[in-house]
Amino acid sequence: MTTAQRAITAMVEQIDGPVASYFSSCVHCGMCADACLFYTETQDPRFTPIYKLLPMRKVWQQEFTFWGRLMKSIGLAKSVTDEEMAEWEELVYDTCTLCGKCSLACPVGNDITYMIRKFREAMVASGHAPQGLKEAMKRAIEIGSPMGITLTTLQAQIKHAEEELGYKVPIDEEGAEYMMVLSSAEIAQFQEIIPAVARIFKAANVSWTLCSTAFEGTNTGIQIGSSDLAAELIERIVAGAEQLKVKTVISPECGHAYIALRWEGPNLIGRPYKFKVQHILEILEELRKQGKLKTKGKDETRLTYHDPCQIARRGGIVEQPRNLINQFAANFVEMKEHGEYNWCCGGGGGVAANERAEERRLDVFSKKKQQLDEIKVERIVTACSNCRNMLEDGLDHYNMSDIEVVGLTETLVQFLDDTNQAND
């Protein structure tokens, strides 16, 4: 089988009812272009979201429609070629963060992001994926983390946290209510998350644990578009959670980890979980509502919240972070387009792991810059370590490094009123 045939076979497998319906409905109006920051910031028509699916549309036409089949059978339709797939690699990986804004803008209702996620499977099947993502995938499978984080690194972070806290951070505790999964960046760069979570759970008096065989939530498999490898990464978390018999697995401040673990996971492994999956923001909001997350003092800094696409627009967690921020922030302002309509940071969907795309992702950060220029804040709170890195890179690129970027959980914990509990 040639690489082009492998791509076509993969696309035929990926085309389901929604995809067939979406292609049937598209009238090439181009409204999705205005929802894609790669188009709005470059004005390159190739970056129009639906255009990024042209080879897949061709396959749909030739395999699923009367006219297309007829044309193909009499030799008047050209099949998708390997050159075409190679050409589209840039459009599918470098200029799409799977942010989902186009799926909200389409007047005929096409979920274009859903299709691009599927198209990436065909890209992988035919060997067309960016080197940076391929290497991250290899590290995830072989070492256990796309950034090459090992258990030793985690253990070192736990040790630091314990020194800071003065009590043990639970690991591999069977029967705990919650099992916390982290993102690579949280272990490598944003280590304050471990003591933050430990303090919150101690104050709320709930049992939790980390797991030595399932601490990494980042899933490069769904970013690159390889369901097999994505499933393997999910299986590790499922095995860890089942072994420890936890009730709930907590997805970290990482957009794609949430999508992978919460929404794609059971479908990737072909069975429902025996435990619940919730995002850390959902847990914090539940604790807040139960009165178990008390804070003291107010942050006077003028700050905003950047909605990670996979958590808000694609994940439905919009109100929770706002309720949590309002608990400690006295000066919280929204960007004009926020919540489901927020603009992507430009680094999601594997774009940040793709070195080739670096220059462009920094350029298109001009969209976020415009949003920030309108509200003039001193701090951006977010809930995704990938967004956090991208925001920092983008601010640096546009000489706006005076704006601080922080994670929600660790910011909240600075106002946590846990003096009584901590002394228990």
Binding site: G17, D34, P107
Partner: protein, 219 residues
């Protein structure tokens, strides 16, 4: 076959053939898209599918909250064309007579002058979208030959219909025959082209809303 015989054939067997292909073709297209379906979602739902799906079907009729110039143009021209076309199709007294002969019942017609106006508005909107398709780099990039073909097929019945009402020297019978032929070609083309969006967009919107609704997301 003379002009009268042609008209008789077009009004009888021709129309029947066109309507049959149109109805069966569109129904097949929708059923096919629904039948391909999607695997059962094994993730624990956070919301429902049916209600949000229906809500999205209606929500996408509205102007997008953050529309751009392209969006406003597309929606204004799109609504103008579609409303003009529907008024012309459904409220011209000659069309109502045709519907009555097929369905067995009719409804009040709008004054011919109003229908002429709506047809002209519709034709104008179609020309506007054609110019935009050629001028706008995004739309030009997306366009394939079929987009231009369906434009011709769509404007055909509107122009021939207008000429039938305002003859330009040709015989009324000939113009009416041309009008009916163009309408029949359009009907036959719908299931095989992007014109099938007239039915499939409801399925697309429903899928979009249902997939989002399952996750508790508004779309």
């Amino acid at each position: 076959m003379n002009e009268t015989e042609l008209l008789t054939w077009l009004r009888g067997p021709g129309l029947l053939i066109a309507i049959t292909i149109f109805v069966l073709g569109v129904v097949f297209r929708v059923i096919q898209n629904l039948a391909i379906g999607m695997p059962e979602n094994l993730a624990e739902p956070k919301g429902s599918t049916f209600g949000p799906g229906v809500a999205t079907v209606f929500r996408r009729f509205k102007f997008h909250r953050h529309s751009t110039n392209r969006g406003y143009f597309t929606l204004i021209a799109g609504y103008t064309f579609h409303i003009g076309l529907l008024l012309t199709l459904l409220f011209l007294d000659q069309h109502i007579l045709l519907f009555k002969s097929i369905l067995g019942f009719g409804w009040p017609a709008l004054p011919t002058v109003l229908i002429t106006f709506s047809a002209l508005i519709s034709i104008g909107a179609l020309f506007a979208v054609l110019v935009y398709r050629v001028m706008d780099p995004v739309r030009r990039k997306l366009s394939v030959y079929q987009d231009y073909l369906v434009w011709v097929l769509t404007i055909g019945p509107l122009i021939t219909g207008y000429l039938t009402m305002h003859p330009i020297g040709l015989s009324y019978t000939l113009l009416l025959s041309l009008h009916i032929i163009s309408a029949e070609i359009l009907l036959i083309a719908i299931p095989f082209t992007s014109l099938s969006h007239m039915a499939s967009l409801f399925v697309s919107r429903w899928y979009n809303g249902a997939i989002a609704g399952y996750k508790g997301v508004k779309s």
